[in-house]
């Protein structure tokens, strides 16, 4: 703090600190505290607030555990988000490795440009694009039927559609960290491993992946968090049988009219994401400072 004052003088330092304080206290901390407060209180008519029925309890959170449908949707959201992260990783890894170790400078700059362009485009539009492709009478079914791969059109909307669109939406968040990590691996290490007779599989599992661990963990964390918190893909591409946890939260707020339960569910989602972040980083021994880049 003294350093800040020494550097910018009292006036500017006060301005900077005030701005940061307003942000952290007013926009980050206070809303979350209020959300926790809501989550722990019952949903009461205005007249009863502060009355004998008002008080803190875990009822709203326990409601999630007791409600079979909600619980199932919650658990499904967790494993489906993990699946999204895994599939995204499998799709991205070969590309990232190729870009970092094999591609020429020209190929690399073209590849980077091609990968980044779709991500300048709105997530809603990207989801809309999948909505059109996956439509019952849409292009994908037409192509597959014409190729004779399927006899009748398939209803893609539902889990499959959501998975395809989410993987599509989060490729960049997985690809760039892994690419950056593999890029810092010396080519000589791979050559040395090959020279010592390691199979390609062994080279990847014993040399490349351990080296790129931090990047992979970062990619997983972001992809999981984005998938679990996504609303647009499940809302547009899901089916009644493939509801997502965020949709339930939305319903508590704008259809069920119980903000307290909504807040409790949102809190559970937040805690889940933070837990996944911290556990993944701990397992991969990555510092938080290295994540946000």
């Amino acid at each position: 703090m003294r350093d800040l004052y020494g550097r910018f003088g009292p006036w500017l330092s006060t301005v900077f600190l005030s701005l940061v304080f307003i942000w952290l206290a007013g926009m980050v901390l206070a809303p979350n505290l209020m959300m926790i407060d809501y989550a722990l209180r019952p949903n009461l008519p205005p007249a009863a607030i502060g009355g004998p029925d008002d008080g803190y309890s875990l009822n709203n959170i326990l409601y999630l555990a007791g409600e079979a449908t909600h619980r199932a949707i919650f658990l499904k959201t967790i494993w489906a988000s993990a699946l999204v992260a895994l599939v995204t990783f499998l799709v991205c890894y070969p590309i990232a490795f190729w870009m970092a170790q094999r591609a020429t400078t020209g190929q690399l700059s073209v590849a980077l440009l091609l990968i980044i362009i779709p991500f300048f485009i709105n997530e809603v539009l990207r989801t809309l694009a999948w909505f059109i492709i996956l439509a019952y009478r849409g292009p994908l079914n037409a192509v597959l039927t014409n190729l004779g791969l399927i006899d009748a059109p398939i209803r893609w909307q539902g889990d499959g559609g959501v998975l395809a669109a989410m993987v599509y939406a989060y490729i960049l968040f997985m690809l760039l960290p892994i690419y950056n990590a593999i890029e810092s691996l010396e080519k000589a290490q791979i050559e040395a491993a090959r020279d010592l007779g390691a199979s390609p599989w062994r080279i990847h599992t014993r040399v490349v992946i351990p080296h790129a661990k931090a990047g992979i963990a970062t990619g997983f964390v972001f992809t999981f968090m984005l998938a679990a918190g996504s609303y647009v893909a499940p809302a547009l591409l899901g089916s009644p049988g493939s509801r997502w946890f965020t949709e339930i939260i939305y319903n508590w707020f704008f259809e069920g009219g119980d903000w307290n339960r909504g807040a409790a569910y949102a809190l559970v989602l937040l805690v889940l994401c933070l837990a996944v972040v911290l556990i993944t980083l701990r397992i991969a021994r990555v510092n938080l400072a290295d994540v946000a880049k």
Partner: protein, 267 residues
């Protein structure tokens, strides 16, 4: 090259092609559907080529209203996030190691918070204060995490800053204010412009956070998502195509400007 290598290489090229198809086919099909006469946006069957949908999009007053809302929000967001993000970066780089890593963790936490949670918590806090969803809350909720992006970009630039420049200016008699205005700020300018541009993009494309705090406003993303559920016509594709072309052109212009900047001799 052995046969196995050759097969492997061939398979990989196929994989690259499939990946490129995966990346671009959705966008191309979505764009192409804007020109199909069919009432539902698709490319199969092709019922005839038309540009009528662009006219329909142009004539849609609700679309213009939502575009205006999004632009207004984005401008307000830039005004909020650039100063705050810069201040955060400067405060953070002035802290000592211990305090710094803690403050850093706190300051990037909004990036690791799901967007819906940011929207919800903002909505709850301000309902308590008697403020409902609307442009004000959209700006506030979006800014909460967009500030992080600005902070990270400014910090990246600050890492290349030689702080003795500030001392030199001070030693020559400049006030702290003048040092900041004449030395620190000009150095940060490229990062400020870039982060401002990024903030506009982030704001306009945001959906998850905005959805909860929008009140009775309908920003562009909400408008499109609603159309998809309540009556999708290729007019929406026409809009999408316009947005895509605009963003890609913007991205290319930005990249060219950045490379030109990088090519300039540095002191």
């Amino acid at each position: 090259m052995s046969v196995a290598d050759r097969i492997f290489r061939g398979l990989f090229v196929l994989y690259l092609a499939a990946f490129a198809l995966y990346l671009f086919a959705p966008l191309i099909i979505m764009g192409a559907a804007a020109f199909n006469e069919s009432r539902f946006p698709t490319v199969i069957p092709w019922q005839g080529t038309t540009t009528d949908w662009f006219g329909a999009m142009w004539a849609d007053r609700a679309m213009w209203q939502s575009l205006w809302t999004s632009v207004l929000v984005a401008l307000c967001v830039v005004v909020v996030v650039v100063p705050v993000g810069t201040a955060a970066a400067l405060v953070l780089t002035s802290l000592h190691a211990r305090a710094r890593s803690f403050a850093y963790a706190v300051m990037v936490s909004p990036l690791l918070t799901p967007g819906v949670v940011i929207g919800i918590s903002t909505l709850i806090l301000w309902r308590q204060l008697g403020v409902g969803g609307g442009v004000f809350l959209i700006v506030l909720a979006q800014s909460t995490f967009i500030i992080c992006y600005v902070m990270l970009m400014v910090m990246a630039r600050l890492q290349r800053f030689d702080r003795t420049q500030e001392e030199a200016a001070l030693g020559l008699g400049a006030s702290r204010g003048m040092v900041f205005r004449r030395v620190t700020l000009p150095f940060l300018k490229p990062a400020l412009l870039a982060s401002g541009g990024l903030a506009v993009l982030q704001s306009i494309e945001n959906y998850n956070t905005t959805l909860f705090v929008r009140g009775f406003e309908t920003p562009l993303t909400v408008f499109i998502a609603t159309k998809v559920r309540t009556g999708l016509t290729p007019a929406v594709n026409a809009l999408a195509l316009v947005i895509i072309v605009a963003t890609v052109l913007g991205a290319i212009a930005y990249e060219i400007a950045r490379r030109r900047q990088a090519a300039r001799p540095r002191g």
